[in-house]
């Protein structure tokens, strides 16, 4: 992966990975990102015109995306124009890729573990004399 300039002074607080994740985990925010990318740049007004949400909701999404460093705001007269920071999007994709893989693997492991727990507990329940053997649940 090519890196841009290392931590420039304009980014006072490097966003954490979980902030990146939170920023892109929301489908509406991904839609906002999608639109900005499709157009190269966008204003809250043009985004709100294309999305089934209010301008205020768009502004909130943009604020979260900006905090995560995924979009950049630039004032242009009375409008604020947003562009996507591709290098941050790349980082977000990597964070998501790692987390998604870890989660898929964890989900498969927990499936196996739950089935093992079920077998153990049901064996123990059926060998307890006070209880009749449990029937299969539907």
């Amino acid at each position: 992966m090519s890196q841009g300039s290392p931590e420039a002074g304009d980014r006072d607080l490097p966003p954490r990975e979980d902030e990146l994740w939170e920023a892109v985990a929301d489908p509406s925010r991904r839609k906002v990102l999608d639109l900005i990318l499709a157009r190269g740049q966008a204003t809250p007004t043009t985004l709100a015109a294309e999305l089934p949400v209010t301008r205020q909701a768009v502004a909130k999404h943009l604020a979260v995306l900006a905090r995560a460093g995924l979009v950049e705001a630039r004032r242009d007269g009375r409008e604020v124009r947003y562009t996507v920071r591709a290098e941050r999007l790349d980082e977000a994709a990597q964070v998501m890729a790692r987390a998604a893989q870890a989660m898929a693997e964890a989900a498969a492991r927990w499936d196996r573990r739950l089935h093992a727990i079920k077998r153990l507990a049901e064996q123990q329940a059926s060998t307890t004399p006070a209880q009749p053997p449990p029937g299969q649940q539907g």
């Binding site: 090519s2 954490r16 990975e17 979980d18 990146l20 994740w21 939170e22 892109v24 985990a25 991904r30 990102l33 999608d34 990318l37 996507v84 591709a86 999007l89 790349d90 977000a92 994709a93 964070v95 998501m96 890729a97 790692r98 987390a99 998604a100 893989q101 870890a102 989660m103 898929a104 693997e105 964890a106 989900a107 498969a108 492991r109 927990w110 499936d111 573990r113 739950l114 089935h115 093992a116 727990i117 079920k118 153990l120 507990a121 049901e122 123990q124 329940a125 307890t128 209880q131 449990p134 029937g135 299969q136 649940q137």
Partner: protein
Amino acid sequence: MTANAIEKDILISAPAETVYRVITEPAQIARWFADAADLDPVPGGQGSLAFEDRATSQRMTVKLTVQAAEPPHRFAFRWDYPDGEQPREGNSLLVEFTLTAEGDSTRLRVTESGFAALNKPHEERVGYYEAHGKGWDAHLASLQDYVAGQS
């Protein structure tokens, strides 16, 4: 935060007390979770899980700390945090079990959360994995397309 967590559940034909013992007693944990387990199942209790990689016969130990122990309803622990650090949000995975009676059976639900905050891939530290489930792949593909289109 749901995107940062997995959730699974299963219906077990056994009383909650029995299920609770299976998920908290070290000798039983060694039968469904790790190859060996050592754990004091009380809040704040410390423990460890040992996993053996069958391919290489290498043994790996993972520490855990109990966050909640309310028999027979709830048991939670944090694990997979770096050596020398206290477990907290951001450096570990949180596993939470809840047990709910359903007739004569028990619904056992497990959630595991904190994946996004981990700095290293989970699978580097904990063995036994199989790729399975592709929930995020579509999102990732589109994100990566964006990036490719932008660079």
